[in-house]
Subunit: 185 residues, 2 copies
């Protein structure tokens, strides 16, 4: 019994649709608070991690990457899926080094959020990485990225032009700006 029971949707039945490498899909029939029923199309995902890497000269490290669902490249902060049982911080360290070659001396949690809670349970854990030292990038064999380093102004221009155009990177951009505004203020 919770104080939000008046919003609860009870599962009546659940139909598996697809079981893939990255996502599972199912359709649940639910009982609504008013006694009606409805269908809920649901994508299950193992979760992911993203890193906002800030260099000592105050640039953000981002990657340009082709995204098949969009049929275009966009510019994003480094990110990757959690392996089964993997800790978000370990995943963040692995993905930053694989995609960009950078190793960070400090990781600070920024936010954890669901990317699209209306139909998906994917959660994304975002860290800020500082104290960066450059090594060799080692992308996955089916991963192809260009690494860029951009100032806050350049990042805003990429957002304006639609090249920065995904939730985690917009969160990172606004959070970074927030940090700079506080430090200036």
């Amino acid at each position: 019994m919770s104080k939000y029971d008046h919003l609860y949707e009870k599962t009546i039945s659940s139909q598996p649709i697809y079981d893939g490498r990255i996502i599972k899909v199912k359709v649940d029939e639910v009982l609504l608070p008013n006694g009606n029923t409805a269908k809920r199309e649901i994508v299950n995902h193992q979760g992911a991690v993203a890193v906002l890497p800030i260099t000592d000269d105050n640039k953000m490290v981002v990657v340009r990457q082709f995204r098949k669902p969009l049929e275009r490249t966009i510019v994003e902060i480094p990110a990757g899926k959690l392996e089964p049982g993997e800790e978000p911080l370990a995943c963040a360290m692995r993905e930053l080094e694989e995609e960009t070659g950078y190793v960070a001396s400090q990781y600070t949690p920024l936010s954890s959020f669901y990317t699209s809670p209306g139909f998906a349970d994917e959660i994304l854990h975002v860290f800020v990485a500082t104290g960066l030292k450059k090594g060799e990038s080692k992308p996955d064999e089916d991963e192809f990225v260009d690494v860029l380093e951009v100032t806050l102004e350049e990042a805003h221009a990429l957002h304006q032009s639609g090249e920065i155009r995904d939730a985690k990177t917009v969160v990172a951009l606004f959070a970074w700006e927030n940090k700079m505004l506080r430090e200036r203020g």
Copy 2:
């Protein structure tokens, strides 16, 4: 021919998996830049709109809503799916009024972003709504929400406690804070 052809993934074949009310699912086989092939699991979605509503006394209007993929309630800025052919601004106005009863005299585009470009093409258009006047909320018949008005400090507390926990609302929170920091600075 584009300058990012070295990142491009050409479709070799596409297998439809599911065609639902909210999402479609397909699996594409792609040719990678290195000549190997890979599978891409793709969710198609018609796109959505979200509104960051700021009242004249500087509170953010949010809704608490049960999200079936998460099996819990979270606190989000008002949002809804685009109808076929609908303009994002018209959708924003409709959703704000339906979910909260508020009508806004001014809408300002904040950002448009893909929620999870690794597997989905869902785009979310976010507007800031100001000059709010309260009327009657008219939620969809299968939509049940509690409307809340919170200060920036209360919104941060909801983020810390994990009740604000989705991408669009985290974007809204940081954007709102940036606006306040600029106005103070």
